[in-house]
């Protein structure tokens, strides 16, 4: 009876539990999480702040998930070290958990740069439930906020704060918001909607100092920008990005780069030791190499693949790529792969931009294969494009149709559909 030990109980851990139990009903599964309450959806902490979801709705699996899957859940416990030769994990109180197969799914932690005054009361990060809970408490008395970073987390947090009635200033170091996933056109479309919602967006700047309130220097009173201007606020949220939590394997034989290196089965270089989720560098099929892609759906898929392999069913991770869907401020956006190639040379770019209807479709091709998709306000066929992309389909014959208003499955030649969707033509 194999002993599976999973460190981390978020998307990758959940995916792994489900996959293991599909194959192996009996092996013991122990999951270790330093959070008191795992199996909630981290991307939903913004919905908790905005009031759209309560705690119950944030549970992305049923309450009896651990019991139902016969998982021993060690929550609120930290895995502090790893012994690979004797195959155990040591926990915070010195107790040891033996494993036969180990999954490291420790995720990421928010990156917090050194900012003078960041130790003041009212400075938050925005990654975990406990971040959200402490922020929510503070918000009961707050009227204004500065959000540092206008990536996915920053934008999601900003929307939630606006819904709570706060006056928000978003500060982004790049010239455009969401610059990692959107080109300037799409970014501007989103920016306009956010501005209309009353948010002040400051780009090309960062916060160099957080200052206190005149009556209480320990509490956040304002943020001083690179320009020297001060924005008065009651809270500062740092949403610059996450870095992989690799400490558990540091100093062991497990190879790391910025994250833990894995093969297509999500195994590390050490037998019986797997890694998945934000802590792992998994395969990106667009870039053709392994890299960090801290995204919930990919983490869950990686965990699932790891789980299968741990339980003895051979499975390969098909690869992911940077892929985001945005719901914020009522403007649906999907961006997959290369959004904005710096060197346009090897690429061909197809665009359908209709400012009047506020529609934008952009496809980036390389050697007649789709490597990038950006859709604003017209997202419903994104999955078909993603399927073409994943399967490296040569789209030369119908490429102009890809950005047309009525692109759909029927646009694809029948022979291609037969090949791509074999199940439909049994």
């Amino acid at each position: 009876m194999p002993k599976y030990v999973l460190v981390g109980a978020s998307a990758a851990g959940i995916g792994a539990v489900e996959a293991i139990r599909e194959i192996d009903k009996k092996g013991t599964i122990t999951i270790i999480s330093d959070e008191q309450c795992p199996q909630y959806s981290r991307p939903m902490i913004s919905d908790l702040i905005s009031g759209k979801a309560d705690f119950g709705k944030m549970m992305c699996r049923e309450h009896e998930f651990w019991e139902k899957n016969d998982v021993q859940a060690l929550t609120g416990r930290t895995a502090v070290s790893l012994n690979l030769s004797e195959k155990y994990v040591m926990l915070d109180k010195g107790d040891l958990v033996d494993f036969e197969k180990l999954l490291v799914a420790t995720g990421g932690r928010p990156f917090v740069p050194k900012i003078e005054g960041s130790d003041k009361e009212g400075v938050f990060t925005f990654t975990t439930l406990s971040d959200a809970e402490s922020l929510a408490l503070k918000l009961e008395k707050a009227e204004s906020a500065v959000v540092i970073g206008a990536g996915l987390i920053g934008v999601s947090c900003t929307e939630a704060l606006v819904k709570r009635g706060l006056e928000v200033t978003m500060v982004e170091l790049q010239e455009k918001i969401l610059s990692l996933i959107l080109d300037p056109t799409a970014s501007e479309m989103v920016e306009n909607v956010i501005r209309k919602a009353g948010v002040t967006i400051v780009t090309g700047q960062t916060v160099k100092r957080i200052v206190g309130k005149p009556e209480n220097d320990k509490a956040v009173g304002g943020a001083v920008l690179t320009s020297g201007d001060q924005v008065d606020c009651d809270v500062v949220i740092i949403a610059i990005g996450v870095i992989p939590r690799i400490e558990l394997v540091t100093g062991t034989k497990v190879k790391t780069n910025r994250g833990i290196l894995v093969d297509k089965t999500m195994r590390t270089n050490v037998k019986d030791v797997y890694a998945s989720g934000d802590v792992a560098e998994a395969y990106d099929f667009v870039y053709g190499e392994n890299r960090l892609l801290p995204l919930w759906p990919l983490a869950q898929l990686e965990g699932k693949v790891a789980g299968y392999n741990m339980a003895g069913k051979k499975a390969d991770y098909p690869g992911g790529t940077v892929m985001s869907s945005l719901k914020y401020f009522g403007i649906p956006v999907i961006s997959i792969g290369v959004a904005n190639p710096k060197d346009p040379d090897p690429y061909e770019i197809l665009v359908n931009h209709d400012p009047e209807r506020s529609l934008y479709k952009k496809i980036v091709l390389k050697d007649n294969q789709i490597v990038g998709v950006t859709l604003v306000n017209c997202i419903e066929k994104a999955g078909v494009l993603f399927h073409l992309m994943k399967n490296s389909v040569n789209v030369k014959k119908f490429k102009q149709d890809l950005v047309s208003d009525d692109f759909c499955l029927a646009t694809l030649p029948r022979s291609l559909r037969r090949k791509l969707y074999p199940g439909e033509y049994k």
Binding site: A53, M59, P297, K327, I336, K381, V384, A410
Partner: protein
């Protein structure tokens, strides 16, 4: 296990599948009221896809290994172990559109409310799904398939 089979060679592009799906998923179940009174108009979960001369109707295929279930952020999209159906719980859905991004068929839609997604439920309360029952040329067929 019954599923809807799409026969594109029989499709005449009339769109009745969409009409009857809309009615079936309306509050009134009445065609006039569903189209004229219910605001927003209920979403048809089947889509008539047209790229002349090709046309066919497509709805959720209830994939064996469903990408939308793995990608779902909130747990709203689930695979029913007994029936094999992919089920969607609008009360849990947060409208993040992640499932739309990964559905290879483009068969998940934004609900007309704009707040959640909407997809085929195989008309759980009917013996034969509305789109199939009202297709005039058997371009949609409801039949037993092997797992």
């Amino acid at each position: 296990m019954k599923r809807i089979i799409v026969k594109e060679e029989h499709c005449i592009g009339c769109g009745l599948c969409e009409v009857y799906c809309t009615v079936q998923h309306s509050k009134s179940k009445d065609i006039i009221k569903a189209y004229n009174k219910e605001k927003p108009r209920p979403t048809s979960r089947v889509t008539l896809e047209v790229h002349k001369p090709v046309s066919f109707a497509i709805q959720c295929r209830h994939c064996e290994d469903a990408p939308c279930v793995t990608a779902c952020l909130s747990g709203a999209m689930k695979k029913d172990e007994e029936t094999g159906l992919v089920t969607h719980d609008p009360d849990r859905c947060i409208g993040c559109w992640t499932c739309i991004m990964v559905c290879p068929y483009g068969a998940i839609k934004m609900d007309s409310s704009g707040k959640v997604v909407s997809k085929c439920d195989l008309c759980a309360e009917l013996d034969i799904p509305a789109c199939v029952a009202n297709c005039p040329n058997d371009a949609l067929v409801y039949k037993e398939v092997k797992k």
